[in-house]
Symmetry: C2
Subunit: 254 residues, 2 copies
DNA sequence: CGCGACCTTGACGCCTGTCAACACACGTGG
DNA sequence: CCACGTGTGTTGACAGGCGTCAAGGTCGCG
C-alpha cells in the first residue's frame, strides 16, 4: 500500500466503528494516480466549477476567502485524511479557494466509486455523514473563536484543535506534532495580525505552554493549554464512535 | 392553507426550478400540528439529543454557542422558511443551542416524510442539497466577516444578508423588511459590543445608509450599503436556480 | 405608576493594528 | 565560496478602533 493509503480508513474509524472489510474498502487503490501539488499553489480557485471528490493523503491545505482589498481569511484547515468537496457537485461555482500550505499528495475519487462504497456499507455511510457534521461543528467553533475569544485564546485554541485532529488519524508523536503553518498563515486563520501572532506565541512560549520550533509543535501540558484557551472538546468528541454500552471508563481510576 | 404554509416551496424554488406539483408536495400539511415558541426561549439546547427535522414557518431564531464565562456568539440566523437539523440524526448530542429571537411558529417533519418527498422528486432533492451548501457558504462568509471586516462592515454586511435572504422568500417590502433583532443580539452575531453596535448604527443612519426604527429596517440604497460593507452576493447567488440558457440579461441595458 | 428591557451617550483605556527596522535561514547564481 | 534575494521570524514605538464602565432616557406593560 502506498504511504498513507489507509489514512481515510483511520479518519473514518474515529467516527464510527468499522470492520476490517470496511477498512479495506476505504484503502486507496494502488493503481490510482496520486496528484502532487507544491506548497503555496491554489488547488481550487473561487469561481471554479466544482470537480470530483478529493482525499488529502498527506500535507496541509487551507480553505480561504479574500476581500477585494486583499484581506484574507482562512475559513478551514484540511489535514491528512480530510476529504473535500464531498457534496459540491450541485454548485455552479465555488465561493472560496483552497491553497496548499505544504506540498500535497491527493487522490480524486469518482462519484461512482463513492456511491458504490456508500451502498456497500451502512457504517461507512454513517461515518461520512458524521464527518460532514464534524466539519460544520468545527466551523461553528471557529465562529465562536473569531467572534469572542481573545488573540491569545484563539491561537491556543487553534493549536489544541490541530493537535487533536492530527491525533485522530495517528499523526501525533506524544505531545508533539507537525505544525507547518507560517505565522502569517496562523494570522489569517485566527483573524489577527502576523505581528501580534508573533507576540502572542512568544508569550505562550514564555509561559511554557508550547514549544514551537522548526515546524514542530510540542504541547507539554495539553490540558493546561485547553484551559487557558477555553477549549472544550465537545465539538469534536460528540461525534466520535459511541462507547460500547456497559464499558466503564476510568471510574475512580487513580 | 395556513399562513406561511407555502414558505418551504418559496424557499426551495429559489434554489432550483420546481414544478407546480413539486411545490404542492412541499406545502405544509394542514393537519400538521404547528408548534409555537415564545421569544427568548431556547428551542434546542447544547447537549440535547438531536430530534426531528424542523421547518420555521414564521419568526426568527439564532444558533449560538457560549463560553464558560458568558461570552456568547450567534453562529447562524434562522429566518422564515429555513429548515434546521436536517442531517443531525447521526449525532449523539448537539454542540450548540438555538434560541427564538421572536415568537415562532414551526412544524416538525418526520424523516419518513422527508425521504418520501426526496424519492418523489429529484428537483427537490437537488434544491435541498443546494440549501445545505448555502448554509455552509453563509457560515464561511460569516467567518470572513468576523475575522477581517471592521465593525462597520460587519454590521452592514449582516443587514445586507438579512434583506437578501428575506427577499428570497418574498418577505421584503421594497427597500424595507423586518428587523426584530435587538442591538445586543446584533452584537452577539457580529462579535462586537452592544455599545459599539449602537454607535455604528448611529453612523450608518447619519450617512443615510439605513433607516432602522421600530423593528423595521429600510435600506434606501442597497448597492451603496453593499459597497461600503464589502458585500459580494456571490456566496448567495452562485446557488440560485441556473438561468435558462439563451436568456440575455440586461445586455447593454440602459 | 413603577419596573424591566432596550437604546443612547460620554469618558477613559487597552488590546491589537500599523509602521518600520532588523535578524536569520535558505537557495541560487556568479 | 560568497554575494544576494526572498520568505520568515522578531522587536519596538506609536496609535486607533473598539471594549468597558457608568449614567441616563424612552417605551411598553402589569
Amino acid at each position: 500500500m502506498q504511504p498513507g493509503g489507509d489514512i481515510l480508513a483511520r479518519r473514518l474509524a474515529a467516527l464510527a466503528p468499522l470492520s476490517e472489510a470496511e477498512r479495506r474498502m476505504l484503502a486507496v487503490d494502488p493503481s490510482q494516480r496520486v496528484r502532487r501539488t507544491p506548497a503555496r499553489a491554489d488547488i481550487v480557485r473561487e469561481g471554479d466549477a466544482p470537480g470530483d471528490l478529493r482525499l488529502l493523503l498527506s500535507g496541509w491545505a487551507a480553505r480561504y476567502k479574500m476581500l477585494d482589498d486583499g484581506r484574507r481569511q482562512i475559513v478551514g484547515l484540511l489535514l491528512p485524511g480530510d476529504l473535500f468537496d464531498l457534496h459540491m457537485t450541485v454548485l455552479h461555482e465555488l465561493d472560496h479557494s483552497i491553497a496548499a500550505l505544504t506540498d500535497l499528495r491527493l487522490v480524486e475519487i469518482p462519484h461512482e466509486r463513492l456511491d458504490q462504497v456508500l451502498r456497500g456499507s451502512g457504517a461507512i455511510a454513517r461515518a461520512l455523514r458524521r464527518y460532514t457534521l464534524m466539519g460544520a461543528a468545527i466551523q461553528r467553533e471557529w465562529l465562536l473563536s473569531l467572534g469572542q475569544r481573545t488573540a491569545f485564546e484563539r491561537l491556543g485554541h487553534l493549536l489544541c484543535e490541530i493537535h487533536i485532529r492530527l491525533s485522530m488519524v495517528g499523526l501525533t508523536n506524544g505531545n508533539a506534532c507537525d505544525m507547518p503553518m507560517t505565522q502569517t498563515e496562523m494570522a489569517d486563520a485566527t483573524g489577527i495580525t502576523p505581528v501580534h501572532v508573533n507576540r502572542t506565541l512568544q508569550e505562550m512560549r514564555a509561559r511554557g505552554l508550547i514549544v514551537l520550533k522548526g515546524r514542530i509543535l510540542e504541547i507539554p501540558d495539553l490540558d493546561q493549554l485547553k484551559q487557558v484557551s477555553l477549549f472544550s472538546d465537545a465539538y469534536l468528541q460528540s461525534l466520535g464512535a459511541r462507547r460500547p454500552p456497559g464499558q466503564v471508563v476510568a471510574l475512580g481510576a487513580a
